[in-house]
Symmetry: C2
Subunit: 401 residues, 2 copies
Amino acid sequence: MYTFTPAFEAPTGSPIRELFKYLGQPGMISFAGGYPASDLFDRDGLDAAAARASQQTTLCLQYGPTDGLPVLKEELAKLMTRRGTPCTAPELLVTTGSQQGFDLLLRVLVGAGDVVLVEQPAYPATLQALKLQQADVVTVPVDQDGLDVNALAALLEAGTLKRPPKLLYTVPTFANPTGATLSYARRIALLELATRHRFLIVEDDPYGDLRFAGAALPSLLALSAEVPGSRDWVVHFSSLSKIVAPGLRVGWTVAHAEILRRCIVAKQTVDLCSSPWTQVIAAEYLASGALEVHLPKIVAAYAVKCTTLCDALDTHLKDDIAVHRPAGGMFVWGRLAGGYDASAYLKTCIGQNVMFVPGVAFYKDNVDLASLRLSFAAPGVSDIEAGVLRMKQALERFAAV
Amino acid sequence: MYTFTPAFEAPTGSPIRELFKYLGQPGMISFAGGYPASDLFDRDGLDAAAARASQQTTLCLQYGPTDGLPVLKEELAKLMTRRGTPCTAPELLVTTGSQQGFDLLLRVLVGAGDVVLVEQPAYPATLQALKLQQADVVTVPVDQDGLDVNALAALLEAGTLKRPPKLLYTVPTFANPTGATLSYARRIALLELATRHRFLIVEDDPYGDLRFAGAALPSLLALSAEVPGSRDWVVHFSSLSKIVAPGLRVGWTVAHAEILRRCIVAKQTVDLCSSPWTQVIAAEYLASGALEVHLPKIVAAYAVKCTTLCDALDTHLKDDIAVHRPAGGMFVWGRLAGGYDASAYLKTCIGQNVMFVPGVAFYKDNVDLASLRLSFAAPGVSDIEAGVLRMKQALERFAAV
């Protein structure tokens, strides 16, 4: 009989995925998912793009270049330029979602025991990917202005890290899970720190285009033009998953040429290429200009949903759950008052047919047990209102125990 | 300025990919690629499948389950059963080509320094993937009946391996690069060895359905029913890349439940899921029965191409290049007579506008410099004949130097 002998103590699976089983519960209202709203996909625009892709049979059906189809790379470079972060097609690597880009980067750059800095709370798949690569993860706290750059500077100067850090992972705009956006001053300070201490900033930017309030801030990659020598130290990830559709599995990496070259060599080995078919569809979609027409509709809908959620929380749970209103993205981060544990509260909520993700999923250490993440992207407006009412009822039950 | 500090000495890229630059040379006839013939894709069948997929917008556009869409897993299980290797949907993991399946397996199972056995000559991406995972690769020779199982038995009993091997990688049917097929007796012997010595057999089977001569042999996974206790020791990889189209990027893994579970956890981290959109297209294509109608056309065309290549080599280069006619697949393996180096000969061939892959690309050690791989899949019949004539002219020039 076969007995599995693992390469090392591997990750045990995403704690969020553990919650998926409750999604099938009849009548469940979920604030738990990180999925974009299915009913906001640009079906007509994507149908038209798919029809044009079908005319390019060989391009869709044959193997493609490992770094991505040139036609898509050109469109992504134009998209980056429209976003205020100019880059060229050769600076781009197309991946199966930006998550693959991060995994490839870790594989070529981070060995077992290498020190990696991560903002905390953080996207759980990031923590899992670092565990899979056996990195020594050191966390840096986040507040409502994003990564605490002063705390990072203190950490770097304290000399307590086992090795010089190879990279720092951050979602500077509408972070998952906190919804926070790194301030301009902190962006500049972070670029200076990276350049001085010679670590890569991994800027993960899937949500940047989903801004519904306030003025846009330049990405770290764009701002690197203001900090001499810093551009080499920024690796920028982005994705069509949240602004077009995850099913395309189109993400991309912009990085220093030598990093990109090594990631491409690794990708040859990992999967040869991401699906050329969906790459052609994505290229046709972007070239058609449909994104610029449709994206404002998604953003407007998310604005309404976010306001609905935050207003309902204010109305019904003002003294019980403290939240910070984000200016974009998909997530609201909250804290339970009264010293309650969000994981225990979740159990009562599931009994009331409403769910969220307890904050513990986003921590490696120093867990804030009272924290929780609510996503407003997928549920409809009336479900959001009903869901908050159920959370209120659940809290009454929970507090009464 | 940024200086790259790699995690370890990483692979340098596929030696075959280095040849790609010559593909653009005007008038080049290439026996080098491992690509299926673009003009044999079932365009109508796939167009129809894509049109049906487009009706299932949310399934195509949203994130899918990490292990693959249930509808595709059901169709792949049926395909496996039609092939004589019955399995159920829960035993399957859908990956971005079978190459990703192998990479995931290595990541969860093989640590730095773990011993991995590989048939040699072998598919280069396998050697690269093992290098990326820092495995200790030990090669086992291959002859015209496939892996030399006696040599493997001797190696296992000699006690010279640094650690007990974790797995053995083989393409038992129409191997890349040799075209060889493992005999029935050797299949049974290999299953017995794996069970006794407790190593996994990684059976990579992308070409098994491309048989144009002789009677089919059961896969190792199917034959495991004949060798008590052996099924747990077989990990089976297959793919739609060579029988439908690579652009779908649909491969799958069948393995022991614990192995599969760990691979799925790793895939959550690596890319969340392979493209649901192309998974729906693949499922629709398989469900339509189009594969059973179209595949015989591909096989018949490859039969003609293979015969054309082998006949032309017999006619023009009989005393110069010894080849073994395969019974299926995409590759003919040859050896240059006269003690010549195939890499040097390739240079002269490229000057004559014809190319192949020198055998050195497929070896880790004990390189047979005279060997070479010719693929008959992609070029047309008249190009195959013209290509062999050019090889003959090149050999005359080459031998004259």
